[in-house]
Point group: C2
Chain length 338, copies 2
DNA sequence: CTGTTAGCGCCTTCAG
DNA sequence: CTGAAGGCGCTAACAG
């Protein structure tokens, strides 16, 4: 391994001078800089991060925690997409990103502990937001920089987070259905432990209320679509005497399941029933019919959270903030008018 | 930050003793060990990785390179799933994983350079296998430990890789179609630059040959399903005078697109046409009909590659090997008999 | 503008 | 069984 000393020796200067050249210190003569740089090239010198981190007490690395993968939800294309967004910023800022994807919450917790105690990373991004999250409490208590993608359960003003306005998104997409003449609209969401679900659902209800439409308990379903229970729930919904004519589904991937359940039941979308959902992942335009869905700009969710986190790690007194990424309805073919 | 010295001071021993306790050195008396460990707990001591790496010249971290995300293929649920597999091993072995997901190949290359030159990681996993890959050449040249998930283009016996037997898988799944009475079978695959596509396609052809069925050029399509061109290609296939009765699609995600194109064209699966594919990602059981597909054990692909890589980094003269993960056909509802 | 010195936190001889 | 000393590669005062 080529070190700073080797370069120094070859160039005939001291190690510290080389170090200064690396940092592009202005007090070094252009001449020496040139000379040193040339030597670095020739020797194939590259600074050793560990040594540098050791003295700098910073790692230029951020940790990313995925939800514990017990929930198969991890196969959601949402994740590669946020990672891409985060990666774009880390790359640009010359940071690196350390991923933690534990099977269980305990595993994730252990990894986070390692990351912060071992100073593996300067800050952490949480790719989920659950009620009463141990990891979040830990990070807060340790005053370790972190941001969450989504909306924190508590201390909402004391935790930097990047989110969509899911309430409004839910409201708007439901309103779209209403505008198309629908009056009986159901909601199918994932676990209520997740804040996204709650917000989107609240928006849905609000739209109904504002349009003076009834909010019916039996039009509300929460399922994970892992167990076949999901399908049964949908089947039950559709066997109601007064069947809904439209459904708001809280996630594109779930929509896929809903779509096929509907088809099994012999219902055509959008002729017999309309469907809208959220995320606008790649597959939402590949279903048949293509989904009318809310584009939440997943990539931006990742990029902005990385940016916010890095800023935070750089100056400890950066204020906690809330960053809302705009959303937009993408109109496709899963909605019919009445 | 609590250091080894603090622990030493409190315990009344020397720093080196503490260091030995950490390493669980057998030459330390049980008594001192107990004492030191207690102090570590109380002070909340955790070793600093950077300091440790600096002297150990090892990072206990592996780098994972995703394909450049220009191809939207990144939204394939394949990726979160391999990452899960890798993560299970890194966690278990107390390693960390650094992710690189560049927009372009250049970006990825730059990141890899950083990783190896800066000694960020001890080894690298490549999550793709493309012909003439710069990154792979670089790694080989530098003799830096790496393994690839998939099959290398060249030097196949000199590069450790973890793959499925995609040829056989392609053959078997095609044979299944043939057994069900199909004689006119088409193949829709992704880019031929990717080895998976080639292998699966070769298996498909071989099955046809062995059954004395014609291999028709116009039954072969390569597309990425990003451009609407994909749909056109399928449409063209189906407008052939002699239409295929079965299609082998090289990836579940693509199948989704094929499925909806078929539906648009008014064809029912499996009544009018049968469909099989590969990967068995979560969504393959959520389509309608659910897909008959080859389970390639993505999770294992990830886990085994991590395991192999870590072994390699531990002993430089670990032989290069090829690890084949078994596959299995999952029978669902997308195939009909003739 | 540049060299010298010290030290980041840890591990590893080498003594004892 | 344990301590002292030196060094991993780099940076940051402090001198000049």
């Amino acid at each position: 391994m080529v070190t700073i000393k080797d370069v120094a020796k070859v160039t005939g200067v001291s190690p510290s001078t080389v170090s200064r050249v690396i940092a592009d210190n202005p007090r070094i003569s252009p001449d020496t800089k040139k000379k040193v740089r040339k030597a670095m090239k020739e020797l194939g010198y590259h600074p050793n991060v560990n040594a540098r981190n050791l003295v700098a007490k910073s790692t230029k690395a951020i940790g990313v925690v995925m939800p514990s993968s017990a929930d198969k939800a991890l196969q959601n294309p949402f994740f590669p997409e946020v990672l891409r967004g985060i990666g774009s910023i880390t790359h640009q800022m010359q940071y690196s990103m350390t991923l933690s994807s534990g099977e269980t919450e305990d595993e994730n917790f252990a990894e986070v502990e390692r990351m912060v105690y071992g100073s593996y990373v300067d800050g952490i991004i949480l790719l989920y937001s659950r009620v009463n999250d141990r990891i979040m409490s830990f990070l807060r208590e340790k005053r370790f920089p972190f941001v969450i993608v989504g909306k924190p359960h508590e201390h909402i003003n004391e935790i930097t987070h990047v989110d969509n306005d899911n309430f409004t998104a839910g409201k708007e997409i439901t309103a779209h259905l209403i505008n198309e003449g629908h009056e009986r609209i159901a909601f199918i969401g994932g676990s209520r432990d997740l804040f996204v679900t709650r917000d989107r659902e609240a928006g849905y209800e609000n739209a109904l209320l504002e349009a003076n439409l009834a909010v019916r308990k039996d039009y509300l379903i929460h399922t994970e679509f892992l167990k076949s229970g999901g399908r049964e729930a949908v089947a039950k919904l559709l066997s109601l005497e007064v069947r809904p004519t439209g459904i708001v589904v809280s996630d594109d991937l779930m929509s896929l399941g809903v779509l096929s359940t509907l088809e099994e039941l012999g219902l055509q979308v959008p002729r017999d029933i309309s469907l809208v959902s959220f995320n606008n992942v790649y597959l939402s335009e590949m279903t048949s019919p293509a989904l009318t869905t809310v584009d939440i700009q997943i990539y931006q969710l990742g990029a902005q959270s990385a940016k916010a986190l890095i800023e935070k790690t750089k100056s400890k007194d950066e204020p906690e903030k809330r960053i809302i990424i705009p959303h937009q309805i993408i109109y496709r073919d899963s909605v019919g008018s009445i």
